[in-house]
């Protein structure tokens, strides 16, 4: 079994000089301790990471509960076995630290050709903010298999995880991650997804709680015809830092990526960051990509940073674009609804619910949909 840590070797790609393309590596030493000035760190309040960047060892774990449909297995594998999987190695220090310190990985395996209708549910519960937890998770969906996986983060911890997602050729995966932490949790995670030939992945991410949440979701493609939708909803309340970093690395022709993240901010010091990076490599002809981030700023004193980056190395693309909006309520929406007799406060609720339902309604798990709609209601109770 060989350790694969460089996507160029695997996919025979040309090297690209770009800050969008950090060198993947499991070796922590290759990812220097950030000063906070680096492009990939400049938005993150490093002091609030509770020492995660120092990488002190810890044996603490989150408490796992799982509902596994027949045929789906959850098992422990060694760090070496996890590293041997054909998924990009960590792209930053936090990802490398999680893989190095977790002492092995939890592997969720959906075997080839298995079509699972009911969702696979994993609840990961933190047992207290004082605990540092290193996590390494592997989700593997076999050839032509189809599954929906819910990863539900609750409780509190200082949790840094590296998650590898292998979507084999022709497979379909809906990955729904809910970050519903207690107010004092710190959660950093790197999710590296490799999309197989003609495979489809939809990764949903809902971030509601936590003192600081910083996730990086990176997608690349093992072959042509792969499709990835990265969809997210987040709420930042006073003092919360919520950062979502997305990277679609088009490493194969005729692949597709679509990123849509929507957030609302309210309260003093609420801070959200959205980074949408797309790299279209020379080999990636005929690809299609769109990335969008919309922020609704509900009160004064909140700050939304939104940075789309698109780098194109080929002249032959089917479509590429990005959009970013940050603002208060759209007066035109309110006017239209009010002009039909709907009172202003109700019009406001409709607009905000609509803003988020746009994404929530796409999840195929009804009880999670309901839970998120309720969470939206709760968050907006004072708006």
């Amino acid at each position: 079994m060989t350790v694969v840590d460089n996507i160029e070797n695997v996919l025979e790609l040309d090297h690209v000089e770009s800050h969008l393309h950090p060198e993947p590596s499991y070796d922590v030493a290759t990812h220097p301790v950030p000063t906070g000035m680096e492009e990939i760190w400049r938005f993150t309040p490093l002091k609030r990471l509770r020492g995660l960047l120092e990488g002190a060892p810890s044996d603490a774990h989150l408490t796992w509960e799982q509902q596994l449909p027949e045929g789906v297995t959850l098992s422990e594998i060694s760090t070496e076995q996890a590293q041997a999987l054909a998924v990009s190695a960590p792209l930053d220090r936090l990802g490398a630290l999680a893989a190095a310190n977790a002492g092995g990985a939890m592997l969720l395996d959906v075997p080839a050709d298995l079509v699972v209708d009911e969702p696979i549910r994993l609840t990961l519960r933190g047992n207290g903010a004082s605990e540092t937890v290193w996590g390494h998770v592997v989700i593997r969906v076999g050839l032509h298999a189809k599954a929906t996986v819910l990863v539900d983060h609750v409780g509190s911890a200082a949790y840094d995880a590296f998650t590898q997602v292998v979507v084999s050729d022709g497979a379909q995966l809906d990955l729904v991650t809910v970050n519903d932490w207690d107010d004092d949790a710190v959660h950093t995670e790197q999710v590296n997804i490799r999309v197989g030939r003609d495979a489809t992945v939809r990764a949903f991410e809902f971030t509601l709680g936590g003192d600081l949440v910083r996730t990086s979701t990176n997608v690349d493609y093992a072959g042509p015809g792969g499709s990835a939708d990265l969809l997210g909803v987040y709420f930042a309340d006073a003092g919360q830092h919520i950062e979502h970093r997305l990277f679609a690395d088009h490493t194969a022709p005729r692949t597709r990526s679509n990123v849509l993240y929507k957030g609302a901010l309210q309260g003093k010091g609420a801070h959200t960051v959205w980074i949408g990076n797309v790299l279209i490599r020379k080999v990636a002809e005929g690809i299609e990509t769109f990335e969008q981030n919309d922020n609704l700023v509900l009160t004064d004193g909140a700050r939304a940073d939104s940075v789309p980056n698109l780098e194109i190395e080929t002249g032959d693309i089917a479509g590429a674009g990005h959009a970013s909006t940050t603002g208060r309520f759209d007066d035109q929406h309110l006017f239209y609804l009010q002009s039909r007799g709907i009172p202003e406060d109700e019009a406001r609720r409709l607009v905000v619910h609509g803003f988020f339902n746009d994404i929530i309604r796409r999840i195929g798990i009804p009880d999670v949909q309901e839970r998120l709609v309720t969470a939206v209601e709760h968050e907006l109770a004072d708006v």
Binding site: H333, Y336, L337, Q338, R340, G341, I342, D358
Partner: protein
């Protein structure tokens, strides 16, 4: 029997920088007087930039427009003192030239919420769904539109037909149609006109039809035609005035207003 009276209406908008004016306001409507009674169809015709749409939006209460003088009375009540939604609940409806897309709010939810607000009680679920489907079908929109987000991804014609479906479902006392005919192909124009005629045929509803073209007046018979130039009515007549405008255009009125 209801009456909508527009009396000496003056409306300004904040001038943008390229207008140059440091006083910051530009007068668009310069004393509009018009009375519409239920059962009547009034057509307002005028060249681009004459203030036709400003009149429509001012009646509906769009915050961009600043009423500096005058009144708009609905059965004696000055609607200018009401909020946008209160005007709608009082019985006014504006079919917009550019209906707004509201992402994530389904047509079904939007219509039910509006109907509940207008009537003061929720419509009966069983008949309401039938009513909505029937209204959509009458304007040749598939009932599947009820599950789509309001106006999102609708073609121009579909948006206009959706406006007319709303008109029929909400059934206001007075409807202001702001260039509902613009950009429609002939089939869609007939569908829209049929809808307006059905609404009007109830006998106790008033229509203010704002248009740039005489084409729609082949399908909707106005009782009165008004020429609107430079922020006020320049001429009022019957159906024959539209024919005259078709033949000779607005030049005569524009020149007269410029003097």
């Amino acid at each position: 029997m209801a009456t909508l009276e527009i009396k000496n209406l003056h409306v300004s908008v904040a001038a943008s920088d390229d207008d140059g004016g440091s006083d910051g306001a530009k007068e668009i409507l310069r004393g509009v007087n018009l009375t519409i009674k239920s059962g009547e169809v009034h057509a307002i015709m005028g060249p681009n930039g004459s203030g036709k749409s400003t009149l429509a939006y001012s009646i509906a209460g769009h915050p961009k427009y600043d009423v500096t003088d005058g009144e708009v009375l609905l059965d004696g009540q000055n609607v200018l003192e009401l909020s946008v939604d209160e005007r709608a609940r009082a019985g006014l409806f504006l079919a917009m030239q550019y209906p707004v897309e509201v992402p994530g709010v389904s047509v079904a939810n939007f219509l039910r919420t509006a109907k509940t607000a207008i009537d003061g009680e929720a419509p009966k679920l069983r008949t309401w769904i039938k009513d909505v489907n029937a209204a959509l079908e009458r304007v040749t929109l598939d009932p599947a539109f009820a599950q789509r987000s309001v106006n999102e991804g609708f073609s121009g014609g579909e948006k206009k037909r959706h406006e007319i479906a709303q008109l029929e479902l909400l059934n206001p006392k007075f409807a202001v149609l702001d260039e509902t005919d613009s950009g429609l192909d002939i089939d869609a124009l007939k569908v829209v006109s049929d809808g307006v005629n059905r609404y009007s045929a109830q006998g106790d509803r008033g229509v203010l039809l704002i248009t740039h073209y005489t084409r729609i007046l082949r399908y909707i018979q106005p009782d009165f035609v008004h020429v609107f130039v430079a922020g006020r009515l320049a001429e009022t007549g019957g159906r024959e005035l539209a024919d005259e405008l078709e033949a000779s255009g607005y030049d005569k009125y524009v020149k007269a207003a410029a003097v």
